[in-house]
Point group: C2
Chain length 245, copies 2
């Protein structure tokens, strides 16, 4: 999944038989959501990585707004929007269902996934300020307050994962940002570690997630994420940083 | 559904047996989505209208951010976020399914629902400017361009409704804003009518939607919506405008 990102003027490879295709970008957390679901459900797929700065023309035929992630089926049908794609995959390939069968529990997980957008926003603010050595304590606290809800929920559910004994949709949908949360430490030093006492269960959860087979497929170390982040912040996102590694 | 909106200091009525409860506001388009689904599926429910300026304390027990719509079940469980509630209702009460059984068609409808957020945003800009007699032609065009997609889609599907011969989830999720689209004319005059030739199928669709039983339950005339809009714009939303009518 770390192959070269195709850019403007590139040719789209022929469609792979018996698979579906994921248009992705190696460091995009939204695209990673789809990787996680495909890997968790063991759905055969091919990855086409896309240069998001110099987008190939054919990308707009697959994803009307030129966004990744997008998937393409053998029928030629395409879908975009990470959550819609993931829900589609869960319904279309019911092998390992990632939601509870109980519609109420499923809806509650969707609320937790939706609410995580706020955590993402406050996390991004913290990253940008940390990288500028210019942290605002209130912003860090806002980010932590967003996470408090997930800590409480894990305690209440009393299981290893939000999904129970195995990760479910909620686990996978929030994971890409949790994988990146130690970027703060890399960018700003030890003072930016998540407070261990406040997020005890979330820390345990993160360690257990790292052992999950689907997570292992796409996992990158915080140092790697931080390096990509710095390149993007400088205006030259190094999409192909891992090519040939 | 047009009863008085309960405000700060009010007492919450006892929970109705054998029903679910919808916390709503008579003029909220997001809340109307949930009304439409409840009415289309003939699910018994009680409405509690809420004053969103002077919110009752108990609202936060039902909806953590004090937002409507929210629903409460007999079990005491609550849900918020209009789309999550509507999907939940569709799964929990499968009598009349509002989505296609085909996961791909369902996902495509969800993309159209998600994309409608952009139409809503450009529509709101047009309303505010129209009400200030200060219309920007580019904004009007942006709004129309958003609608073009829905016109094309209706033509392609070749049926009365997005859902086929009866309205489905996509029809109901975009309806509240389409019901309000003639507010432009009320606020700004005939020059703000939707161009008939450009939106021929959408106009026919709108007329057919008005004949739908679920739509009739909550339908209000554009003049009424415009009157509420003006009161809100002036800073004194007249929630109880229809009480006793």
């Amino acid at each position: 999944m770390s192959q070269k990102h195709l850019s403007r003027g590139s040719r789209l490879p022929p469609f792979p038989k018996g698979k579906l295709r994921l248009y992705s970008m190696r460091f995009c957390p939204y695209a990673q959501r789809v990787h996680l679901v495909l890997d968790a459900k063991r759905i055969p797929y091919e990855v086409v990585n896309v240069d998001l700065t110099e987008k190939p023309d054919w990308l707009y035929e697959k994803s009307p707004f030129g966004k990744v992630p997008a998937i393409e089926l053998e029928s030629g049908d395409t879908l975009y929007e990470s959550l819609i794609i993931c829900d589609f995959l869960d319904e279309k390939y019911p092998s390992r269902s990632l939601y509870s069968r109980d519609p109420l529990k499923k809806a509650k997980d969707k609320i937790m996934i939706d609410h995580f957008n706020k955590v993402i926003q406050s996390m991004l603010k913290v990253y940008y300020h940390t990288a500028n050595s210019n942290l605002n304590e209130d912003q860090l606290e806002e980010f932590f307050q967003g996470l408090d809800l997930y800590e409480r929920e894990l305690v209440e559910r009393g299981k290893s994962f939000f999904g129970g004994d195995r990760p479910g949709m909620l686990d996978y949908m929030i994971w890409p940002w949790c994988e990146r949360s130690d970027m703060m430490k890399v960018l700003g030093g030890d003072q930016f570690l998540l407070p261990k006492d406040r997020f005890k269960r979330l820390m345990e959860w993160r360690n257990q997630m790292k052992e999950d087979d689907a997570v292992k497929e796409s996992y990158l170390e915080p140092q790697v994420h931080a390096k990509y982040f710095q390149s993007r912040k400088a205006g030259y996102p190094d999409y192909d940083m891992l090519v040939g590694n």
